[in-house]
Assembly symmetry: C2
Homo-oligomer: 189 residues x 2
């Protein structure tokens, strides 16, 4: 499976492309950071981020795009810009028929380091080791984008199985309620 | 000037189109609300909102798109979705070369009612009166989208004059600093 990882942002947006093989094998194809000047208009900054992400999608044709889920941060203004950058990338993926998944920072940290409260240095070190890179990816946004893609490669099969189990449970329940309704009719009839 | 007003949201996104004439004359061309189901995937909800907004832009060809600036709300999750809906619409406008402006809720309220703390009913009542509508626009998101467009029609000339004054001030300062640097060279030389 080919997964594009996105650490969304306006000032720095981390992008990565990772291929997963059998088991937990993952290979990095590309990683980079898109930067837009803070003094530029918001709409133009979003366009620069979207243009770059779309070029990555059209070049590498990933099967899924994994984006970090944004929560309230210390700086609300920054959080909004981050959410919007993630939003335009999610839209670009949806328009190409590419699946979009959001993972929280702690899900990503837990996936690559084993614990959800790891710091940036630990995430970078594990990403470097997992992908067998010669040099640690820099800046942190690039490492985070790789961590997101790895997290998705490893979590996706689990999430798919959970979704399948949920769908099965819903179907069983639907049939049960249908039978119940029929029996009630018989009793009342 | 033709302005598209946007009260961004995922569950309900208000859209409006307003033409401004001489003085404070404004005419409503269209108003509506795009709805997306809360249980749908975020990327697909963003796509539905973007599709609708883009159809409005391509049909009415506004000169500017005025979007409500989102601040932290009680519900952070909702605020993020709202910011993202505004983001994909801002992107669509930027790609069409349409100017995008953000106005805060209090700027919008102040523009249409005269005070920045007006409630929803007051905004709706004033929007109805200003546009000379037979019936009050419903739901509140539709009225808000109209209020945003009216606010932009009235504030844009002011903002343009302020931007021009700022640019002039910057130019004067740049020239002053240049002269100062030259004089320093002379003194040192």
């Amino acid at each position: 499976m080919r997964v594009m990882g996105v650490d969304p942002g306006l000032t720095r947006c981390g992008l990565s492309m990772v291929d997963s093989g059998p088991g937990r094998k993952v290979v990095a194809l590309d990683v980079g950071v898109v930067r837009t000047p803070p003094e530029a208009e918001l709409a133009l900054r979003l366009m620069a981020v979207a243009d770059a992400a779309e070029e990555w999608m059209d070049t590498h044709r990933p099967e899924a795009v994994a984006i970090e889920r944004v929560f309230a941060q210390h700086n609300v203004r920054t959080a909004m810009g981050t959410a919007q950058a993630g939003g335009v990338i999610a839209l670009a993926a949806a328009r190409r028929g590419i699946r979009v998944a959001f993972h929280t920072p702690s899900e990503v940290k837990a996936a690559v380091t084993g614990h959800g409260t790891a710091d940036k240095a630990q995430v970078t070190a594990m990403v470097t080791r997992i992908l067998g890179l010669q040099v640690a990816p820099k800046p942190a946004d690039a490492a985070d984008a790789l961590a997101l893609a790895i997290c998705h490669c490893w979590r996706a099969p689990l999430l798919d199985r959970m979704a399948a189990a949920q769908a099965k449970a819903d179907e069983v329940r639907r049939r049960y309620e249908q039978r119940l309704a029929e029996q009630r009719k018989v009793v009342r009839g």
